[in-house]
Symmetry: C2
C-alpha cells in the first residue's frame, strides 16, 4: 500500500461529536448526520456491496490488513470494481483520528456498486468508513451468551456448486442475518449458530464459531461457504502460543452440545463464551476467555 500510514495516523484532526464518516477519496471527516448517499445507490436498493467491521482498541487497528484483504475478496466475488485499499485505509485512519478517543471503537468500511446506471455509463462505486463507539460488551464477555442453532437452508457445499449464492462474501444483503437474530430473541437467546441443511456447523450471522474439546480448538472450515474469521485467526495464534492444538474442521451440531466450551468470535464483541445452547447450559471457561482477551487484544 502506498499510503504513508504514520503520517495519516499522527495528523492533527479536529474531533467531531458522535459517529464520524469519511467518504473514500475525500479529505474530510464529517459527522454521521451529514453523511448521505443517493437513494438510488445500489447499496440501498439492492444490498449490492460489501463491508467490513474492524475493531480499534486503544487507538490501534486490529487486523486492518486482513480486513482490507477480505473486503477485496468479497468485492471480487460480487464482480465489483476492486476497492482502492490504500484509499479505504486512509479514510479509516482519518475517521478514527476525528472520533473522540475511546478504549474500543468500531470502524465499518462499505464498498457498493454505486448509483444505479453508474455515472456516464460506468460503474462508479461508493465507499466510506464510519467510526462508532462500540456498545459495552463486558457482560457478554464475562457471563457469556445464549445461542440457538438455526437452519441456514443451504448444503455445506453450495460455495463450490453455486457461487452466485455468494456464500463466503461479506455482502450488504444482511436482512436474513438480522431476521435470524430476531428469531433468536423470540427463543430467549442472544445469538445464532447457523447449521447447513445437511448437518454441518457453519457460522454465526456476524461471528465465527470456536469449539473446544480438551486441548483441541476447532473452527468450521472456510470452504463451507463461510467467512474466514479475522478474530478467529488471531485467537488461533494465541491458542497456539499457549500450547493448544487448533484446526479447521467439519463439525456436526452434536459436537457443539458435547463440547467443553464454545465461543463466538467477532470484531466488536471479540470473544464471547456461549453459556446456553438451544436452551441447555454449557460450560463457560471464564479463565481462558480472560486469557484470550488479554493475550490477543490487551484487554484486562
Amino acid at each position: 500500500m502506498s499510503i504513508d500510514t504514520a503520517a495519516a495516523q499522527t495528523a492533527i484532526v479536529p474531533t467531531l461529536p458522535g459517529d464520524v464518516v469519511v467518504f473514500v477519496g475525500t479529505p474530510d471527516a464529517v459527522p454521521l448526520a451529514e453523511a448521505t448517499l443517493s437513494v438510488s445507490d445500489l447499496a440501498t436498493t439492492r444490498g449490492d456491496g460489501v463491508f467490513e467491521s474492524i475493531a480499534v482498541i486503544g487507538g490501534v487497528f486490529v487486523q486492518l490488513e486482513a480486513h482490507l484483504e477480505r473486503l477485496d475478496h468479497s468485492a471480487a466475488m460480487l464482480d465489483l470494481p476492486a476497492p482502492d485499499l490504500a484509499a479505504f485505509e486512509a479514510a479509516a485512519r482519518l475517521a478514527v483520528a476525528a472520533h473522540a478517543a475511546e478504549p474500543e471503537l468500531l470502524v465499518k468500511l462499505v464498498h457498493s456498486r454505486g448509483p444505479e446506471g453508474g455515472v456516464n455509463g460506468q460503474v462508479a462505486p461508493s465507499g466510506w468508513a464510519q467510526v462508532m463507539s462500540g456498545p459495552d460488551h463486558s457482560a457478554a464477555r464475562t457471563a457469556g451468551i445464549r445461542v440457538v442453532t438455526l437452519d441456514r437452508g443451504y448444503r455445506h457445499d453450495v460455495a463450490q456448486t453455486s457461487p452466485w449464492l455468494l456464500q463466503g462474501a461479506k455482502t450488504l444483503s444482511y436482512a436474513l442475518n438480522k431476521a435470524a437474530l430476531r428469531e433468536a430473541a423470540r427463543r430467549g437467546a442472544d445469538d445464532v449458530i447457523f447449521v447447513s441443511s445437511d448437518g454441518v456447523v457453519l457460522e454465526g450471522p456476524t461471528s465465527t464459531v470456536l469449539v473446544r474439546h480438551g486441548g483441541v480448538f476447532r473452527t468450521p472450515r472456510t470452504d463451507l461457504g463461510i467467512l474466514a474469521g479475522t478474530t478467529q485467526a488471531l485467537v488461533f495464534d494465541t491458542l497456539a502460543s499457549l500450547g493448544f492444538d487448533t484446526a479447521e474442521a467439519v463439525i456436526p451440531p452434536e459436537e457443539l452440545a458435547a463440547a467443553d466450551a464454545v465461543w463466538l468470535l467477532s470484531s466488536g464483541r471479540l470473544v464471547a463464551p456461549v453459556r446456553e445452547l438451544d436452551g441447555r447450559s454449557i460450560p463457560v471457561d471464564a479463565a481462558l476467555t480472560s486469557t484470550l482477551l488479554a493475550e490477543t487484544f490487551g484487554l484486562r
Copy 2:
C-alpha cells in the same frame, strides 16, 4: 385507504427532469439527484427493508393495491413497522404526477428499518417512491429472452421450516439476485429461473414463471417460498377470459424443457417469452404474447 386519490392524481404538479423521488409523508417531489439518505440507514448497511416495483402504463397504475398489500406482507415478514400504505400511495401518485409523461413508467416503493439505532431509541422507518422511465422492452417482448436455470440452494419447503430465511419476502437484500443475473450473462443468457435444491421450479430473480402445456397454463405455487406475482395474477385473469385453464403447481425443471411455451412475468418487462432455455431453443408463442400484452395491459 383514506387518501383522496382522485385529488392526488389530478393536482397540477410541476414536471421535473429525469427520475423523481417523493419521501413518504412529505409534500414535495424532488429530482433523484437531490434525494439522499443517511449512510447509516439499515437499507444501505444491511439491505434491511422491503420494496415493490409497479408499472404505470398510459398514466394508470397497474395493480397498485396488490403491490401495496405485498409491501405490507413483506414488511410483516421482516418484523418491520407496518408501512403507511395511504402515505405510500400518495407519494407514488405525486411522484408520477411530477415525472414527464411516458407510455410506460416504473415506480419503486422502498420501506426500510431506517437509521441504525432508530430515532430516540424508536425504529423510524425510511420510505420513498422513485419514478423512472422504463427501458425499452420491445425486443424482449417480441423476440423473447434466453434463460438459464440456476440452483437457488434452498429446499422447496424452507419458507415453512425456516422462515428467518425470508423466502417469499421482497427484501432489499438482492445481491444474490444480481449475482445470478451476472452468471446468466456469463452463460450467454438474459435471465434466470431458480430451481430448488430438491428439483422444483421456483421463480426468476425479478420475475414469475409461466409454463404452457396445451391449453393449461401453470405457475409455481407461492408456498414454495416465492413471491406471489402481481403480473402473473393479471395474466391468469386474461388467460381465464380466453378460455384457458390456469393453475398453481409444483413444476419439475424437466417440464420447462418440454413445455409448449414459457414466459417470465414482471412489472417492468411485463410478459417476456422464453426463446432459449439452458442453451436449447424452445417455441415462442408470439401471437399469444401479443394478445396477453394487449388484453392485460392495453399495449398494442
